[in-house]
């Protein structure tokens, strides 16, 4: 089973130290982010059990949180996840077309991952970028004012990065 390495453990300790003595459970959300980033972009039940052990809480306390928040992935996702906002303000600026275009270009529907494991398309609700619509989240960054041309460029960029990182 995967465990945090030295650097990740240091970050874990930094996160836990921010809360009062005995309130280490408060670090659960940030620690789950750390775990997801460290172990392939998703949270397996083994990972959740490991986090429960580290925080000295019951596994169920981790499961109930991991299933509540939309940013935790409970199954494997592609290396690059396109999370396209589709709420009102983005819809008014054409997000439906962007979702459809990405779907056609990659040959997947929202919620699906490409066969090569590179891309996942996900529709999400308002990400707080309404003035820069349409937009999507890609990793830690927002990609805004999307057009079909920009989408093409982003896909190309991801493909290049994937090759470079292999």
């Amino acid at each position: 089973m995967a465990k945090f390495n030295e650097t990740q453990l240091t970050e874990f300790k930094r996160l836990v130290a921010r809360y009062p003595e005995g309130k280490q459970k408060s670090a659960l959300l940030p620690v789950l982010h750390l775990a997801q980033d460290s172990f392939g972009g998703w949270l397996s039940s083994d990972t959740m059990d490991y986090v429960a052990g580290l925080l000295l809480i019951a596994p169920i306390e981790v499961y109930e949180v991991a299933t509540f928040y939309s940013m935790y992935n409970l199954k494997p996702v592609g290396k690059y996840m396109f999370e396209v906002c589709q709420t009102g303000p983005c819809m008014l600026r054409g997000s439906d077309d962007i979702v459809a275009y990405i779907g056609t270009t990659l040959g997947i529907k929202p919620g699906e991952t490409t066969a090569d494991g590179l891309f996942t398309l996900k529709t999400v609700e308002c990400l707080g970028a309404c003035g820069y619509a349409p937009m999507m989240q890609l990793g830690k960054q927002y990609r805004e004012h999307l057009t079909k041309e920009k989408v093409d460029a982003i896909i190309e960029e991801c493909r290049k990065n994937a090759v470079a990182n292999n």
Partner: protein
């Protein structure tokens, strides 16, 4: 140009750094507060300023502060609500990205006033890169003696920590935020007890929005009385408005709440008019939860008076012919937009974000989404519109937290003002798939169908 108190320096080159922020007069407020004022003085200035919570509810900030319990030996906490998730709202992000030290300075003053030695910024999980910006600013403030032990020789200790959420609109509600900060699901708590008495870890807690806490800096610098002179009536100071939708210049604007809605939409200083020369159809001026208004009722009240961009004027007419200032998420719809579809996306949003604790909200938001989708697809019946009305009535006021109301209001307002557009989707199902209803008679003088 109106008065700018928050964003005046936001575009100075390098303002994200401590050096530049300091050179531009930053941290003078913190020095003044910690060196020359008592904690009661600070609370008094905030009360005098008339500052109202900028997150959406508009509750007087000074009054909220004065409720905080001070039992002997129990630590108190200030929590900054940076969960900004109300569709249409992106002002806090703008402030944190551009001038993070303004928020940190506001947090230092407010923590001092409230006696919070450990202050938390709860930021929505998606704003991951802003966490880095804030932590950088906190580190700089600490290195310069504004955080840490014995700040400016006052004997006051304070640390600020940034906690990322993980994708949940409900965590913008203060008790859900507190639950989340404790590492739990974001299920709102029943009030009372209010957070001021029992908040995070059952300790007295004040939760304030980013913009509210940043506004404490100009209030301390200029004094509460001077701050209160800006604006009008109970809408004092300045307000950040995040404008989006079909306008020429989407973005974040700081206004002094004396300008009219018409000026805000059409002036080049602000939204620059409707994009592509289209006509204005409707607007949701305070984030997706507040009632949508057709153009005529937006620009003028039902009495025919000019409507202004402030708390009182926007709510003139109540929910029958008015709306709310809310969070300042200003969403504009042009003549080509479909009210049914727009309302559907919000209903889907609220169904997705309902925490599931209260049956009226958990079940009702799902029903509303399904009915609206059916109507939008031209598969609805006239009775579906009445059913929608009935469901939203049964959600409103019957839930622990305001998410239920927030889900009900947009549906109610859409039916109230645009019922004939809903009916048209039923009577013209095929046409409704090819084109939108357009303006029809909404540009006519006051049109408020009785429901």
């Amino acid at each position: 140009m109106g008065v700018k108190l928050l964003l005046e320096k936001a575009h100075v080159q390098g303002i994200r750094s401590y050096e530049v922020y300091r050179r531009e007069g930053g941290y003078r407020g913190a020095e003044k507060a910690i060196k020359t004022m008592s904690t009661d003085d600070i609370v008094e200035e905030v009360k005098k300023s008339g500052l109202r919570g900028r997150g959406g509810a508009g509750f007087p900030a000074g009054m909220k502060w004065s409720f905080v319990a001070k039992p002997e030996g129990v630590p108190r906490h200030l929590v900054c609500n940076a969960d900004e998730s109300e569709p249409g709202t992106f002002k806090d992000r703008y402030l944190m990205e551009n001038i993070p030290h303004l928020l940190i300075e506001g947090l230092i003053i407010s923590s001092f006033a409230l006696g919070s030695n450990a202050t938390y910024i709860y930021i929505r999980g998606e704003y991951a890169w802003i966490v880095d910006i804030l932590e950088q600013a906190i580190g700089e403030a600490r290195a310069n003696g504004f955080l840490g032990k014995n700040i400016l020789g006052s004997g006051f200790d304070c640390e600020i920590y940034v906690q990322r959420g993980a994708g949940a609109y409900i965590c913008g509600e203060e008790t859900a935020l507190i639950e989340s900060l404790e590492g739990k699901r974001g299920n709102p708590r029943i009030k009372p007890p209010f957070p001021a008495i029992q908040g995070v870890w059952m300790r007295p807690t004040v939760v304030n929005n980013v913009e509210t806490l940043a506004s404490v800096v100009p209030i301390i610098n200029m004094g509460g009385d001077e701050y209160a002179k800006i604006g009008v009536g109970k809408s004092t100071g300045t307000k950040l408005i995040s404008a989006c939708g079909n306008i020429s210049k989407p973005g974040v604007y700081e206004i002094d709440m004396t300008i009219s809605v018409e000026e805000f939409i059409y002036s080049d200083e602000y939204c620059g008019g409707i994009a592509n020369g289209k006509r204005l159809k409707a607007c949701i001026p305070g984030g997706s939860s507040v009632p949508v208004l057709p153009a005529n009722l937006l620009l003028k009240t039902a009495k025919g008076e000019t409507r202004y961009m402030n708390y009182e004027s926007l709510s003139d007419g109540g929910f029958v012919t008015g709306t709310m200032m809310g969070s300042g998420g200003f969403i504009v719809l042009d003549e080509d937009q479909c009210i049914v579809k727009n309302t559907y996306t919000f209903a889907r949003f609220y169904r997705h974000e309902s925490c599931g604790q209260c049956s009226p909200c958990r079940e009702g938001t799902g029903w509303m989404e399904k009915l609206l989708l059916r109507l939008e697809k031209g598969q609805g019946k006239i009775s579906d519109i009445d059913l929608l009305w009935d469901i939203q009535r049964k959600i409103e006021g019957n839930t622990i937290c305001p998410l239920g109301d927030a889900a009900a209001w947009p549906v109610a307002a859409a039916i109230r003002h645009f019922r004939d557009e809903f009916e048209w989707h039923v009577t013209h199902p095929e046409e409704a798939q090819k084109r939108n209803f357009g303006l029809a008679h909404y540009a006519d003088p006051i049109h408020v169908p009785a429901v």
